[in-house]
């Protein structure tokens, strides 16, 4: 009925905990278009990671309906890619072998994957680091490798769970610019979890603002800042306006 890439209707998720049931996600509905950059923003406990997990097909049980590319979606699929706050690189694999992991798991063509791996390492600025081991790299460089691995099997949707949350401010900004550059080049659909409002405004087309206990979708904010964006957009009065709109929605302005 709708032509959106992803359609979520009345999504809810309740966890059984030692202190009783915990409503992690309460009746969340939305639709996401192909090629959109969406951020999920909110404090811890707002259900943004749970929602991302559901979108990744990693939650076995949840209420509501989720449709991805016209199909009912409740299990992992190869056209999705996940990235985490930690790089989750395997220390026994070289940088190149890490980037080629998705290809190995999904049994993709080896020659093509080798070529793609080189291109991706080039794209994230790690040309010449292919034979290094993860422990030899800095935190920022490891996240770059994780970014290359995310793209290795050419997924349609990128699910990113606070991918730059553990990096220092300067590295994070650089990584944001790189991500935007890669997103503009590849046209992927990105769903990006963060608790950093500025980061969300800088990156996104639309921001899903979420509030905790229970995890709810408080509202969706359109970011109508022009693209391509450079860091000077942060000086824009409209940028601050958007940031404060979201802060108000989250109730963090006192």
């Amino acid at each position: 009925m709708s032509s959106s890439l992803i359609d979520g209707k009345n999504l809810s998720k309740v966890y059984a905990t030692a202190t009783g049931p915990l409503v992690a996600l309460d009746d969340v509905s939305f639709s996401i278009e192909e090629g959109e950059f969406i951020s999920l923003v909110g404090p811890s406990g707002c259900g943004k990671s749970t929602l991302l997990s559901i979108l990744g097909g990693l939650e076995e049980k949840f209420d509501g309906t989720l449709v991805l590319a016209g199909k009912h979606h409740d299990s992992p699929r190869p056209d999705l890619g996940m990235m985490f706050q930690t790089s989750v690189l395997f220390p026994w694999r070289t940088v190149r072998e890490n980037v080629r992991l998705p290809g190995v798991i999904l049994r993709l063509d080896k020659k093509e994957q080798a070529k793609r791996c080189d291109e991706l390492l080039d794209m994230v600025g790690l040309n010449g680091f292919g034979d290094r081991y993860p422990t030899e790299l800095s935190g920022g460089m490891r996240q770059r490798v994780a970014l290359a691995r995310l793209l290795a099997h050419d997924p349609r949707v990128l699910l990113m769970d606070e991918p730059f949350g553990a990096l220092d401010e300067f590295t994070r900004e650089t990584m944001n610019l790189e991500l935007l550059r890669i997103w503009e080049k590849t046209g992927k659909t990105v769903i990006f979890v963060t608790h950093n409002i500025g980061e969300a405004v800088f990156l996104s087309d639309r921001i899903f603002v979420m509030t905790p206990r229970p995890g709810r979708l408080e509202g969706i904010v359109e970011v109508d800042l022009p693209r391509p964006r450079k860091t000077d957009v942060m000086r824009d009065a409209h940028f601050s306006e958007l940031v404060f709109t979201i802060r108000r929605m989250l109730g963090v302005d006192h």
Binding site: P78, I105, G125, T174
Partner: protein
């Protein structure tokens, strides 16, 4: 085009600057070398000191030589024991027991560890019993095993297996269980099944802890065999130690202990070398 170059790629600009850096590196390296040397001298010095105290105490008549043989007596006894007719056949008996006990303990511990970690039904069935059996000292089984399996090699192998099984089992289980949840999520998101997750993530991730288990396994296999031979045997190093002690040939006992220690250490070092190869990324 890349917007950022990592800082370690940036080369020092002027030759003078580079020279300063090189000089600094050179001094640091020399200081490091000196420290390593000093530590070695300290360790060697302590060893010599202990030998000296031992020598003076025994040769000087402060302790009766029958109770504690002097370093020189021990040295001669080592030669005497090693050239005796009975020595090598007994070594062979003990060596076989240790190797069989080690191998069976290692293999069964690994297999059961993997089974319990990977299959919930196996875990539910046997894990409670294994945990209960893990706590009490296994060495108490030695006399029973001798009764059950006789004075010959099988009883010693059985004790070694029971002793070396648990560290291998527990370390395999712990290694396979202590995995970054996000790494598991990553594998799941890539549609990896149980086998692929095991092969590409769980097993390599477990190897460092498993190798620590192998080392424990080795020392406990040796311990099990020797104790088994103390309890009841007609051949083996443990039997020799027991017999010589009974004959008050303490120098011979010392010699056997030293030979056994050297042997155990050599194999231990071999396992450590193997470990550095298997889990090479821990040294990076």
């Amino acid at each position: 085009m890349n917007m950022m170059q990592s800082s370690d790629e940036m080369a020092a600009s002027s030759p003078a600057h580079r020279e300063t850096i090189e000089r600094f590196v050179e001094t640091e390296r020399r200081r490091q070398k000196k420290k390593v040397l000093a530590n070695r001298v300290l360790a060697a010095g302590f060893g010599v000191f202990v030998l000296l105290v031992w020598g003076i105490a025994t040769e000087g008549g402060f302790v009766h030589k029958l109770i504690i043989p002097s370093p020189i007596d021990t040295f001669w006894a080592t030669g005497r024991v090693m050239s005796a007719d009975y020595f090598w056949p007994n070594v062979w008996v003990t060596l076989q027991e240790i190797l069989w006990g080690f191998a069976i303990g290692l293999a069964s511990g690994t297999v059961l560890g993997v089974a319990v970690a990977m299959f919930d039904s196996v875990r539910a069935t046997i894990y409670p019993y294994l945990v209960a059996l893990q706590a009490p000292p296994k060495i108490v089984l030695a006399p029973i095993f001798v009764t059950w399996f006789g004075f010959d090699q099988p009883s010693k192998i059985a004790i070694a297996v029971v002793m070396s099984f648990f560290p291998m089992f527990l370390n395999t289980l712990t290694g396979l269980s202590s995995v970054d949840p996000n790494a598991v999520k990553l594998m799941r998101s890539l549609t990896a099944g149980r086998w692929k997750t095991f092969r590409h993530l769980l097993l390599p991730n477990a190897l460092p802890i498993m190798m620590a288990g192998v080392k424990l396994c080795w020392t406990l296999a040796v311990l099990g065999v020797i104790v088994g031979e103390f309890v009841g045997a007609s051949a083996g190093i443990g039997y020799l130690i027991y017999a010589m002690n009974f004959q008050l040939d303490i120098a011979g006992v010392f010699a056997l202990i030293i030979i056994l220690s050297v042997f155990t250490l050599v194999i231990y070092q071999l396992i450590e070398w193997l470990e550095s190869r298997v889990v090479f990324w821990k040294q990076l």
